[in-house]
Structure formats: structure tokens, C-alpha cells
């Protein structure tokens, strides 16, 4: 029996080469670390990363160490996109057209602080890949509310009594309004899909925007082993559907849902939603349904 088993070949759905090393400083069960691991598998060695202040500027390690095998440029908080544009222009000046320049920012550096630089780069259609890994608050500085924080969530600046009562900013719609060649959403619960999207974005010229959903166990007050489960559930209950937008108009849905699951189970797995009453959960479900219908109608109109 065991002899037979030994002969079986292992088939891996992702390439075995690792550009991210062990020993980095991410928390247990970090979604952002997983996102970087999958993205670098797709990007390969010829990559330059521009990382503003975010979790990843800490995870990477202190000077003179780095846990990644690719060059990283640590830039100021609001300059992720514009630094990447500059690095790309510099590389083009010395005749290097192969290297992919990636701006790798968190949700604070994309939705709030970095949006002017990102909008400028998108308007000029600079040849960069902008990746936003979204953990839905300023986790690095101690769980402060950002404009990516969803309705109803607890953070240190929106305590239970005054929880966030505004919806999450629709970043894909903002980027679609810039008419850039490629926009996609991805989740660490679907690594093959993420890998495919990064590979696709790598070969496109112009500004590409990738929004990766990356759970944060300490900030969301969830268990560290639930990271992948949460990032899979969020797709299945259509809070964060996986889709692509090409040139701001052509919508493609990647994970088609036969049956939309209720948001209840997803919310109950996280301590940051513990205070929500039935009425508020019903409101969240209603909002999710409305957004999902809107997305489906956009999908129909573009095909």
C-alpha cells in the first residue's frame, strides 16, 4: 500500500519556485503574505516592487535584510503609483523594457492616501502594475478605519458604539472610469485565479489595477486558520465578487455563483462584526444583493 503511494506523482497547481523566503515578519495566517507569494510566482525574477508604508514594508524586514528575492523600493505613503512610474521611466531610459514595475500598496495607500498618485498614473496610462492588497483597515498602525472598511465593522477609531456606518469605497468603479486596459479583483482563497490574473496583467501594456482581498486575523478578530476560508466565503456570498474589467467597459465574471450564500456565516466568523444586530445584518445583505444585481446588469450590458 505504502509502496504504491510512493510512486504517485504530486501535481501542484502553482509553480514550485519561491521568490519569497521564510522568516518574514507577517502575523500568523497573514493574507497579505499569501498574496505576495502567489503574485511573485507569476511575476518572476524580472520585477521591481515599489512598496509605500503598509504592512508589507514591515513584513519584508528591517535594513539590511529583505525576505524577497526581487528589488524593493520603499517609498513614501502617498507615492506608490508615481514612484513606480518613475522607476519604469528610469528603466526605459537605460533600455530595459522587460522588467515589470509593480506598485504594491495596502488599502490605506490606495483608497485614501495614494489615490491622487494612482489617478494621475492611470490618466497618463503609465506602464505599471498597481496591486492593492485589501485588509480593510490601517492594520499596520493599529486597526484604524480606512475608506475600504466595510459597513458595520469595528476598528479602534470606529468603536462598537459608533461603528462605521458608511459603505466601502467602490475602487473598481473609480478605476474603470479612468478607462485603463485592465482591472481585476482577486482573492487569496482562489490562488489559481490570482496567479492567472497576475500573469495576464504582466503581459498587458498600460496601467493595470489588481485588487486582492487579503484577510488579517489580528485586525478582524478572526482565527488565524480561517484566513483562506474567509477569503473563499467572501467570494461565494458576493460581498467581493471576482471579475475583470477591460478598457473600463468589458466586464467578465470569473467565479460564477449558482447560489449566493447568506452573509450571516461570514460576519459571525469575525469579531469585528460581533456587535451587529439582526436588523443591521439584514441591511448588509440588502446592500450586497443590490451591488450584485448592479454588477450582473453591467455584465449583461457589456456582452
Amino acid at each position: 500500500m505504502s509502496q504504491e503511494k510512493k510512486e504517485k506523482k504530486m501535481t501542484l497547481s502553482l509553480p514550485e519556485e519561491e521568490l519569497m523566503g521564510s522568516g518574514h515578519r507577517a502575523c500568523q495566517g497573514c493574507g497579505a503574505a499569501l498574496a505576495m507569494r502567489y503574485a511573485l510566482k507569476a511575476l518572476g525574477e524580472k520585477t521591481v516592487l515599489c512598496i509605500p508604508a503598509c504592512c508589507w514594508s514591515v513584513i519584508d524586514g528591517p535594513f539590511p535584510y529583505s525576505s524577497l528575492d526581487v528589488p524593493i523600493y520603499h517609498c513614501a505613503f502617498e507615492t506608490a503609483a508615481v514612484s513606480a512610474s518613475g522607476v519604469k521611466a528610469g528603466l526605459e531610459m537605460v533600455g530595459d523594457t522587460e522588467t515589470t514595475v509593480v506598485a504594491w500598496a495596502g488599502d490605506g495607500g490606495t483608497f485614501d492616501i495614494g489615490i491622487q498618485a494612482l489617478s494621475g498614473a492611470a490618466e497618463r496610462n503609465d506602464d505599471i502594475l498597481y496591486v492593492c492588497y485589501d485588509n480593510e483597515a490601517y492594520m499596520n498602525t493599529g486597526i484604524q478605519r480606512s475608506s475600504a472598511t466595510p459597513y458595520g465593522a469595528w476598528t479602534t477609531t470606529t468603536p462598537v458604539k459608533h461603528f462605521k456606518n458608511r459603505p466601502k469605497k467602490d475602487m473598481e468603479a473609480i478605476m474603470a472610469a479612468h478607462r485603463i486596459p485592465y482591472i481585476a479583483t482577486a482573492s487569496v482563497g482562489y490562488p489559481e485565479d490570482l496567479f492567472k490574473k497576475v500573469k495576464k496583467a504582466k503581459d498587458i501594456e498600460g496601467t493595470r489595477f489588481l485588487h486582492i482581498y487579503a484577510p488579517c486575523p489580528p485586525g478582524w478578530r478572526s482565527r488565524s486558520e480561517d484566513t483562506v476560508k474567509l477569503s473563499r466565503m467572501v467570494v461565494q456570498n458576493a460581498i467581493f465578487p471576482l471579475y475583470e474589467i477591460e478598457w473600463g467597459e468589458k466586464y467578465t465574471l470569473n467565479i460564477k455563483l449558482r447560489e449566493k450564500k447568506p452573509v450571516d456565516d461570514y460576519l459571525r466568523m469575525q469579531g469585528r462584526f460581533r456587535h451587529l444586530t439582526e436588523k443591521e445584518i439584514a441591511y448588509i445583505q440588502e446592500e450586497v444583493n443590490r451591488k450584485w444585481e448592479r454588477l450582473l446588469s453591467l455584465m449583461d450590458r457589456s456582452n
Binding site: K9, T11, L12, S13, G23, R37, G61, P64
Partner: protein, 99 residues
Amino acid sequence: MKKEKQAKEIIFKSEKEVPLMPMSVGNMLWNKTGGWRNIRPVIDLENCIQCGICWKFCPDVAISIENERPVVDYVYCKGCGLCAEECPSKCIAMVEEEK
């Protein structure tokens, strides 16, 4: 084949040794994150179906494939429990660390 990485700590004895450009010269392998762990994953290789899911979902790159079998590197495993939760044949057990 990739170049072998070394887990060594870099100590600058004087200011002159510090590189002029602030750039990385070492890797984070010296940071042995295994000490963060409360529970350790133990793989039951008899029931392993060799799907590679534990390898795929490890955020610490602490599970490698050797002879077509997953092997946990306890020097770097932080004990998050993702591998045990995601294993389809439930052959990974999280065992409490002894003091």
C-alpha cells in the same frame, strides 16, 4: 538551480562597513519565527493524498515538497493552523508545544 541562501545575521562593526546606498544585503532567514508557535502541525503521511494544498496555503513558506511528500520546517512554521484547516483528508493534526 537557485543559489543557496544563508541564515546569517549581519553586524556592522563600524560606520565604514555600512553600504553607501541603503540596500538589502542579507535575507530574513536569520529570523527564526518558529519561536512564535503555540501549536505545531504534525502530518500523518500514511493518510496523505499528496494534493499539495498544505504547501499551497502556507503563508510562511514553511512546507516544502520532498520525495513527493510535504515536509514541515519547524524552524520557521508560526503555527497558524491554515494547513490543518485546509487539508482535505484531515491528516494534519495541531499538537500543543511542550515547554
